[in-house]
Every structure is written in structure tokens, then in C-alpha cells.
């Protein structure tokens, strides 16, 4: 059977204006990769954020990072201040991966 490795999955829904800073942090902290769903809409504390946008001001992005627990913790730690004043949520779960060298 294919060997599986336990990792953490972090999903971040955040307004597009903040995505760049968060991605830079993710890279700085040592994660080996990330995936972005560039255009999601939604509703949360800050009201509706939909697709009808001239600028990116009302656009959300979904950022997904799979990482070892230790790096995941570092990302979570640093997300809190980065999200201050911005719309965004952070969701963590347990996953398994194949091809450990990617993470």
C-alpha cells in the first residue's frame, strides 16, 4: 500500500487585498507550497463579498496550504495579526498525503 504521511491542512478565505501578504508569510515560514482558488464569494462578519467587482476590494480568495504540524502552527500563529482589520477566516484540519517530499 502507498505510504501516507500525516499533515495539517490550513484553508484561509481572505479578501484579495490581503492575499499577497499572507502568501509571502506562508513562503517565509517554510511551507513548501500552496494552492489558490482565485475567485470565491461569500458572506461573513463583514457582509456579503461577491463577484461583481471593479477593483479587488470585494473579492475573496481561498488559500490552501498542506504542511507538517510544526510549520502549520507557525502559519496559524502569524495569521492572527495579518488578519486584523481584514475579512478572513482560517480553518485547520487533519489530512494525509502521498509523496511526502512535496510538503
Amino acid at each position: 500500500m502507498t505510504q501516507l504521511y500525516r499533515k495539517k491542512k490550513i484553508e484561509i478565505v481572505v479578501e484579495a487585498a490581503r492575499a499577497r501578504a499572507i502568501i509571502e508569510m506562508i513562503e517565509a515560514v517554510g511551507a513548501k507550497g500552496y494552492t489558490i482558488v482565485p475567485d470565491v464569494s461569500g458572506r461573513g462578519n463583514r457582509g456579503v463579498r461577491d463577484e461583481a467587482h471593479l477593483s479587488d476590494v470585494f473579492r475573496n480568495m481561498l488559500i490552501i496550504v498542506i504542511a507538517a504540524e510544526e510549520i502549520a502552527n507557525r502559519i496559524i500563529e502569524q495569521l492572527q495579526p495579518l488578519l486584523k482589520d481584514y475579512a478572513g477566516i482560517v480553518v485547520i484540519s487533519d489530512v494525509e498525503v502521498i509523496r511526502d517530499e512535496h510538503f
Binding site: 479578501e15 487585498a17 499577497r20 471593479l54 477593483s55 476590494v57 486584523k84 482589520d85
Partner: protein
């Protein structure tokens, strides 16, 4: 006054304004009419490319007259200084706190490309000529106001934060300000029009001149849909702020009229400078504010400039400023 009313009515029944109104109605009634996002971005790019290129070609044709430098200096001065006035008014007349007042103020120092384009359409319809290089003013006025806005916001920031103060101008903001897509496209197209002149225009005209007004009409339909869907945001904004969105353009236009007359622009030119001064940004400045002044609430500044000042200028402002320009030019 008779002429003014006639102007306003004639403007109202142009296809551009009517498509805008159609859009507002459809958006407000929650019709599922929608122009796909990439198309509407494409139309915006088209308008900027076309207006920039035409300005460049006219610049090449008429040469850099004596007033050009004065006009460029005026553009910078207006964009840098108007947020100060706007900020003072907002702090006096509304309950907006420092970051929100600063953010709103920045929008009114900057400009709305589409309002400018609609004004050139208005002048074209009436065969009123204008100085081609005013497009360069448009490009120059887009971003300086952002700097003033951020400086105004500083005043409060120092108290709130414990961290050492971040530099006013982050790399991210610099990119937003100087390399903003609209600044690059307007400026670049202007330069290309200027370099290639009439020969270039012959190549580009069937694409960017002939269908221009029809494209503008479609884009205004789209803007209308956006405004219609955001009309309900009025409630968030509060009436004193809504009022600001109506009187600030009038103040700005007055300043623009006087200054443009002072540097010796033509009737068309005076009208356009008034429109620039009266209009507020809803693309470039919101994006910059969201990056650099996140404490300010976009649910205030976006509907204000998009759903109040923009329609006001489009429907009532342009003919009004043109009538005033006639009056001041005839003095």
C-alpha cells in the same frame, strides 16, 4: 437657465446615460442581467487605451503649447491638495473617524476615468473641441491623492499602534500607486499615440474611434448594474456622508473651473478639468486604501464614490459644469 435645463435633458436622453439608467434599474430590481466580469474589465481597459491613444495623437498634432506644463502642474496640485479640503469637510460635517475620513478624502482628490470619458463623449456630441493633452492630466491625477490620504490617516495611527510605525510608502503601495494598471495603460497609450501620430491613428481608428461610444454605452450599462446593486449600501453610509458625495463634486468642479480658466484652457478644456476635479475614484483608490489603510471601511467609500458621486456627475454634473464653463469662458 433655460440652456442649462435643455443641456441636462439632452444629456439624459443620450444612449449612454439611458443605458446607465437601465443598468441601475435592472440592478436595483435584482434582475439576473449581468455582464461577465472579464468582459467588463476588458471594456474598462478598452476605454483607457482608446482615450489615452487619442489624447496622444492630438498632442502630437497640436504640439506642446505653453499651457501644457501649467496643466500638468495643475493636475498634481489638485490631486495632492483636494483631499485636504475634503478631509476638513468630512471631519466637520460627518461622524467619520480619522481613517475613514482620510480614505474618503483620497477618493475625491483622485478621478473617475469613466466620468471623464463620458464628458468627452458629451463634448463630442456637441462638437466642442478640447485640448488632447488633458488625458495626461487624467493619468496624473489618479494617484497623488492616495499619498495625501495616507498622510492624513497618520495623525491617528501613531496613537493606536504599539509597533514601530510602518513606513508610509510600502513597496506594495508604491506598486499600487505608480504601476497601477490604469496609470500604465493611460500613460502608455498616450505615449504610443504621441509617437505614432496620425499614421498610428490610421491603423487604430477602426478599432478605437468608431465603436468607442457604443462601447462606452455598454460599459455604462455595466456600471449601472453595479450601482443598482449597491444602492442599498446607502444605509451603511449615513446621510451626512451621502450629502458630502453630492456637494463635494460641486466644490471640486468650482475649483477646477476657476483654475482651468486661469491657465487659459478652452471651453472644452475648462469643462473637462471641472469634471476631473468633481469626480471621485472607485477603482484605483479603493484598492490602494484596502492595502494601506485597512482600518477604513470599504463599505463606506466604495458606495459613496460609485453609487452617489458617479451617477450625480454623469447625469447632472457634466451638463452643469459645461454650462458653468460656458459662462466663465464668456466672461
Amino acid at each position: 437657465m433655460d440652456t442649462l435645463l435643455q443641456l441636462a435633458l439632452a444629456n439624459l436622453v443620450s444612449p449612454m446615460v439611458l443605458f446607465f439608467v437601465l443598468g441601475v434599474a435592472a440592478g436595483w430590481l435584482k434582475s439576473d442581467l449581468a455582464i461577465p466580469e472579464p468582459i467588463s474589465k476588458g471594456l474598462a481597459l478598452y476605454l483607457m487605451l482608446a482615450i489615452g491613444f487619442k489624447g496622444g495623437v492630438e498632442l502630437e498634432a497640436n504640439g506642446l503649447g505653453g499651457t501644457v506644463v501649467a496643466a500638468m502642474a495643475l493636475a498634481l496640485a489638485l490631486s495632492f491638495s483636494m483631499p485636504l479640503l475634503a478631509y476638513a469637510l468630512l471631519r466637520a460635517a460627518t461622524r467619520l473617524d480619522v481613517p475613514n475620513a482620510a480614505a474618503v478624502a483620497a477618493h475625491y482628490g483622485s478621478v473617475s476615468v469613466v466620468t471623464f470619458v463620458a464628458a468627452t463623449g458629451f463634448l463630442g456630441y456637441r462638437a466642442v473641441p478640447y485640448e488632447g493633452y488633458l488625458v495626461a492630466m487624467l493619468a496624473l491625477m489618479e494617484t497623488p491623492a492616495i499619498v495625501t490620504g495616507l498622510l492624513l490617516a497618520r495623525r491617528s495611527k501613531t496613537a493606536g499602534t504599539t509597533k514601530p510605525q510602518a513606513p508610509l510608502f510600502s513597496k506594495e503601495l508604491a506598486r499600487e500607486v505608480f504601476l497601477s494598471g490604469s496609470v500604465v495603460l493611460l500613460g502608455g497609450s498616450l505615449a504610443i499615440g504621441w509617437i505614432t501620430g496620425a499614421k498610428g491613428m490610421a491603423v487604430m481608428a477602426p478599432g478605437i474611434v468608431d465603436p468607442f461610444k457604443a462601447v462606452l454605452a455598454v460599459f455604462l450599462l455595466d456600471m449601472g448594474l453595479l450601482v443598482g446593486r449597491r444602492l442599498q449600501d446607502f444605509r451603511t453610509v449615513g446621510w451626512p456622508v451621502v450629502a458630502f458625495g453630492l456637494y463635494m463634486p460641486l466644490i471640486g468642479a468650482t475649483i477646477g473651473l476657476v483654475a482651468a480658466h486661469a491657465i487659459g484652457l478652452s471651453l472644452g478644456g475648462i469643462t473637462l478639468v471641472a469634471v476631473l476635479a468633481a469626480s471621485a475614484s472607485y477603482i484605483v483608490v479603493p484598492a490602494a486604501m484596502r492595502v494601506s489603510l485597512p482600518q477604513a471601511n470599504p463599505a463606506i467609500y466604495v458606495p459613496l464614490s460609485l453609487a452617489i458621486t458617479f451617477p450625480f456627475n454623469l447625469i447632472a454634473g457634466i451638463p452643469l459644469y459645461h454650462a458653468a464653463a460656458k459662462w466663465i469662458a464668456s466672461m
